[in-house]
Symmetry: D2
Subunit: 382 residues, 4 copies
């Protein structure tokens, strides 16, 4: 912190009180944020990927980039890994463990990439009809086997969480019966989850569309939650901000998941049109603030603790330098979270109970308009 920031921080303390500001600093400093290994590579679209040549190309390079990120921000202590992308053989996994150690980071969630798995070899394109919901039993079986393999990798690396995002979906009304789709997934998801032991967890992600453009197998949080209930308490819902219909109040969904103890974590990103996977908070910082407020309020009311909910950055860095954009997104998350920690919850509740929405919104606005960069700077020093 330079001299000016010190003055700015002092003014914030004068305005909001030492206790509030210090608490915000501490909360920001201790918020875990996980990065995704693949996210350090150049992202692209179906029209192409345009690497500048400076991006990490190998797994080792991506993990090294994650290490750099961790040093630069203090966040990213854990790194999400994706299989088979981040290795397939025992030797690969051993090497991966080494790179992680060297980079000073720990393995985070273990992600099944069922869409890059090949049931019976490089040319098996049957995966386009589904993985865990494929009409062919052998493909479903191979998909479950991939899940079990990921559990083994998880244990080997010392992680305790797998993430299930499913590429399954259909492109036309006739392709698959909704009933078959659901029956198959109920069975195969359970088959994976029942292998988990002790504190191990499975996060189940939902997605409205893409790569399926008619009906995905886990289309919304309702379906994800039903699957979690079927699988038992080890399964929790994973919310990716870009996976909803566009006119959806995502913070309300989050409130309901938190209230029921069903929220496992987030894939953070931002978007205008579809699952654009842009930098978190770059377009809708106020929505990110509302999401953080919802999480903080849930914690204050005795529901899930914010620090126990996985914060993961899942973006596609198509244009900017991936590391830079990851830092930008992290700062945006910290900014929104710091502001949420400045909210005067008692004043808010009082205004709400008095049917005074003007006063209530003023409380939220006060927090949102505050420039929290001095708080972030202080937290970075902590």
């Amino acid at each position: 912190m330079d001299a000016r920031q010190e003055k700015e921080l002092a003014l914030l303390v004068e305005k909001l009180g030492k206790k509030t500001v210090n608490a915000a600093v501490r909360k920001v400093a201790t918020l875990p944020v996980e990065v995704l290994s693949w996210g350090f590579g150049r992202g692209g679209t179906r029209f192409g990927t345009y690497p500048s040549g400076k991006e990490p190309g190998t797994v080792a390079q991506r993990i090294a980039a994650a290490g750099k990120f961790h040093k630069r921000t203090g966040k990213g202590a854990t790194v999400a890994l994706h299989f088979p992308w981040d290795g397939t053989t025992a030797k690969d996994i051993a090497a991966l463990a080494g790179w992680l150690k060297k980079a000073g980071v720990r393995p985070g969630t273990i992600n099944l990439n069922l869409f890059s798995m090949r049931p019976t070899g490089a040319l098996d394109a049957r995966i386009r009809f589904g993985s865990l919901t494929n009409p062919v039993a052998a493909v479903r079986k191979a998909s479950v086997a991939h899940g079990l393999e990921c559990i083994r990798i998880m244990r080997k690396l010392g992680s305790d969480t797998i993430v299930l995002w499913l590429p399954d979906g259909t492109n036309s009304p006739g392709q698959m019966s909704f009933f078959d789709q659901a029956d198959r997934l109920d069975e195969t998801a359970k088959a994976i989850c029942k292998e988990l032991r002790g504190r191990e967890k499975m996060l189940i992600e939902y997605k409205l569309f893409e790569p399926g453009f008619y009906a995905t197998a886990i289309q919304d949080y309702a379906r994800s939650r039903e699957l979690c209930r079927l699988c038992g308490p080890k399964a929790k819902v994973l919310v990716d901000l870009g996976h909803h219909p566009k006119c959806t109040n995502v913070e309300q969904i989050i409130a309901h998941l938190v209230r029921d103890g069903d929220l496992g974590g987030f894939h953070f990103n931002d978007s205008i049109y579809a699952d654009d996977d842009l930098a978190t908070g770059s377009l809708h910082p106020a929505q990110l603030f509302r999401i953080c407020c919802t999480l903080v309020e849930g914690e204050l009311r005795g529901y899930q603790k914010v620090n126990r909910i996985a914060f993961m950055i899942d973006q596609s860095h198509n244009i900017k330098d991936p590391l830079d954009e990851m830092v930008e997104s992290t700062v945006n998350i910290e900014t929104a979270y710091a502001k949420a920690r400045l909210v005067d919850w008692d004043a808010l509740k009082k205004a709400q109970d008095a049917c005074d929405p003007s006063a209530a919104d003023a409380v939220l606005r006060d927090a949102f308009l505050t420039d929290v960069r001095p708080i972030l700077a202080k937290a970075r020093e902590t």
Copy 2:
């Protein structure tokens, strides 16, 4: 049926077989469709209502129109009623019963219109902060009382179903805590539902937005279903086709509700932009067909029977003559349903299991492209 229609029907029999065609005729003929009393009046928007002067203006006139509709189509044997709109005093209810009898129709679902209820008199505007979720306990209590009153009316009229659509929602992030909103509704919805006895039912409707434009209290089918589970087996989900985010696969939601036995009924209408409440099937007849297919498939797989799911037409007749538009919509529903009954389910399943989506979609397309007007004409004569 005139001579040409007889020939067309004969050709259909030649093509599809007598059994299939006759079954479709029978199914269309016995499908119950309920109309809404208010739907016979002139609808409007917040910008105004433009009655031509020929629309039914009084409750008696609307019930008489429902009687005409019933004679003209054979559908509309039951008429949904709305309170306080359709009467408030015991005398009103008695008169209403008389008009229904005279019109040759029976009372259908009994709808709570909490937004036109006034807790303590004509000028009580506190309802704008909510009914069952209002911060003020007295307003919540009055809202529950309105629910109980509707149950009494239901019994007096000899109906067995109440419908809960909630005008509750907020217009800004600060107005109400999601947690309070949910806690209050859990309590008040239960308080109404627990009064139901025997075969009595409550249908709980959800709506993404309007009249609340930030967060409605029952925003989606997930929330509606959670409420139903809380309230017990008498409560079922009511799906209004216009109450979803626009890019949503509604037929998939329906499949999941049917599979779980949670679908209570429909409010049919059509839309492009929002909850436009246009004539059912007038813009998206293929979606209506897919919805009917989902229902038929659910029935064939042993889930809920189509005839036990309430088919209700809930539209706003802003431009056309209300009675004419109600008939148009009914014919559109019958058309979609007849086509769904022509689907060759065995061929469809076979193609699906063989990973042959081209063949599968051809089965659905064959049904959809068939001109079923001769089947409808025959069903009308039955």
Copy 3:
């Protein structure tokens, strides 16, 4: 400004330089914002309006409220008026002029409310088939006459701008030919516009849907602009933030209108789902900032001057106190505008030209994250 705000302002000066901060203060202080007379009344939806009893009920009371607003904020020097709502007879207009004077405000834009006009009397419902596009020539003629009447009122009151928002649209594909709709509007819009003289102007507003739910007559900015070109240089496009499809980059549209000199003004409001008409900047403050940035950039590049573009607040105050919400929105506009005036345009351009989007976005973010409340406070004192 209290002592703390003085210190905050001093820190801003230290950080951004006196010139930049002073310029922002001056720009905010001199930005004209127009309020709409009807906006001081209680808003509602098609489900009902819930006045608390404290809202202005009469025209006189609404103008008095506008006066209060002007005293409280320094903005609202002009008040948009709507006819026939704000008066119909010569006596009404004279009284209106008196109320405006008494309130210390001037008449702003004069708005045609074609949807509340009745061509041949109170019961003429033919307006539901359109006003300027009605199939019946007599209704079109009466609609043009209403436009001419508004021009006369405009002159009588000493205003120089009329606003054309059209309730015309259809609810089904068959109702009206797109070709007839366009032909009629071309003719009638021209008939109104050609009456304008000298510096008089017409702003033409577009709207995607509502009250028409299939096809509105001026559905987008493209159609509005074509009409303006047809009508000549006195006609300009009016952008209402809530009148686009939801996934639309509105700031880009604004850039194109500014670049071509076609932007007449704004109707400000905010929304998530449809034309929700919520408080401007209450949900998407970053979008409002981007819009202001676009306007400022346009001005800096020599296109339209921001102060020559009409800033009008057009919201529906359904829940909060209308006057309070109008103030809230005004502050949100000033906030976004002040931030836009803090952008370091040279640094931004340099980063853009160097293909360095990380640096470019950092420039915008720096401005957006700045707490400009001290600037607003200073501007209020000016």
Copy 4:
């Protein structure tokens, strides 16, 4: 046509009159439909492409598939070509000409694939900052050169139309000024178009988003049309059905383009969520019908002739066999078009002028509900 189809056709003639049915047959038979060379290959998403191994892999194989398509359907007499995909050297082009001839088809539109062009070699990733709008003048120049190269290829192959779809767009608000973006494109698009001679044409396509997720360079038909006007009468607008915000009345846009003589052609496909590129008419056949009705009405009113507007199928065949899905889509287009040719335009106009939307919609519905498969079968024989 088999015996049953003959009977069905006879019944149609009995019902609609010989003249109407014969005209529809003739219109369907003579409707040109163009296919895209790349469309015969396996499509995919950013998550992967899953070729079954049976799809055409080389240019030669894709052209051969186009030949098969032409034989099977009678459509696809012209094949759209994409460069550099379909060849780069003079030798490639000569070979291509040979394959086309052998397949019995002619070259259709020549498509600039600027996103697969590399200004200075395989590793030039600067294209991610834009082609015709790139901040770097050298890249813009190379992009213009690619356009000129395509014009040369066009002439060599004997085609007369190039298609400009632009991958240019930004992923964040700071990346590029809207003003620079527009200025650059105005200049570079003109530079390409001015090379065209005689009857040569350029179709300019617009797209709301993807691969840019903040602001594309040609975001809507308004921008495309402005560019066309700037480029002169050789430039026309290309409408891709999937390139609009989701809640958009596309047929109305088409009507306006046709009315102004600005419509160059279509890229047909279908979608629910984004630019899903599903089989045309597979999800929204009624919308496709309304589009065809708009085109037919435009022709009848003396605007553009349907046969002069390029009908191109632009889909991504991710799941089904590409050839099969291309046939399916073609049949869907023919179906919609045949129905549009059955509309009783006089009756429709009469109902519209009489403010009788129920009667008007009945006219459209009568056409839409008609099973036109006998007409298509007859047309296939023609």
